[in-house]
Amino acid sequence: MDLKELSRDESRGMTLIVKTISRLIMSFVILFGCFIIIYGHITPGGGFAGGIILTIAYVLLLLAFGGKVAMAKLSNFWASMWDNIGALSFVVIGFLGMTGGYFFLNFLDHGSPGHLVSAGMIPLCNIFIALKVGAALYAIFIGLSVYGRIVTEEEK
């Protein structure tokens, strides 16, 4: 079934009010998570906090619309795949520093302090940490709630 029809299903998920408010604020949650990640080197926050906020958007999807919509949006296979991509890219960035001299050398342009382009490769590290943390947390959440629940007597 199409994802749009799945999200219209009345019998699944919470009430209409929670669904509509989720539709309204979901895009803002993604935008705010990216804001926290990208400005991680000049304001508090960074990869870990931003990754948690990105995960929160998908967890809200799972809570408000039901498991099938969230799994159609980001399945367990792709969650573990993004987890691996984040971890591997972080290590690759570390090894790219070897071209200039040593491990984790900050080889990019430093820019002027206080602006967005001012820290070389720290924003890149933040982005990959966010991918790693967010995807791993989402995988844990669907592992516990969708696959790991106790089957009751009636469902048998």
Binding site: M14, T15, I17, V18, I21, L24, I25, F28
Partner: protein, 114 residues
């Protein structure tokens, strides 16, 4: 001038916050508590944020003011939704109304459905 208006708004907001929490302690059952606390604390927090926005615009800190306005809009949208979800969850969990309640048409609907 803007500082005075800001302090007045913050004072009223803090007063409403305290009143809402007194209602949370004093009222008899979960629905009445939810009602008093949600109304008062939502308006109280929004007034604090509006006051901070007014003082920020007055003293030239525009980024702080705009962010507090965004935060106020966010609280104003999500707080009643959370209250609705909690009220529905409490009724489904079987919490009875206070014994002085006069009518419960939702209970009648649930009984006719099942």
């Amino acid at each position: 001038m803007s500082e005075t208006i800001g302090y007045i708004m913050i004072t009223v907001g803090v007063l409403f916050d305290v009143l809402g929490c007194v209602g949370l302690v004093r009222l008899p059952d979960v629905y009445n508590r939810l009602q008093a606390a949600t109304k008062c604390v939502t308006l109280g927090t929004c007034l604090i944020l509006f006051g901070v926005a007014v003082m920020g615009f007055g003293s030239g800190q525009n980024a702080m003011a705009v962010k507090s306005l965004i935060c106020a809009a966010f609280v104003l949208i999500t707080s009643p939704t959370g209250a609705h979800a909690l009220a529905r969850g409490s009724h489904k969990a079987g919490v009875p109304l206070w014994q002085g309640s006069v009518i419960d048409q939702y209970q009648e609907y649930e009984e006719t459905k099942s």
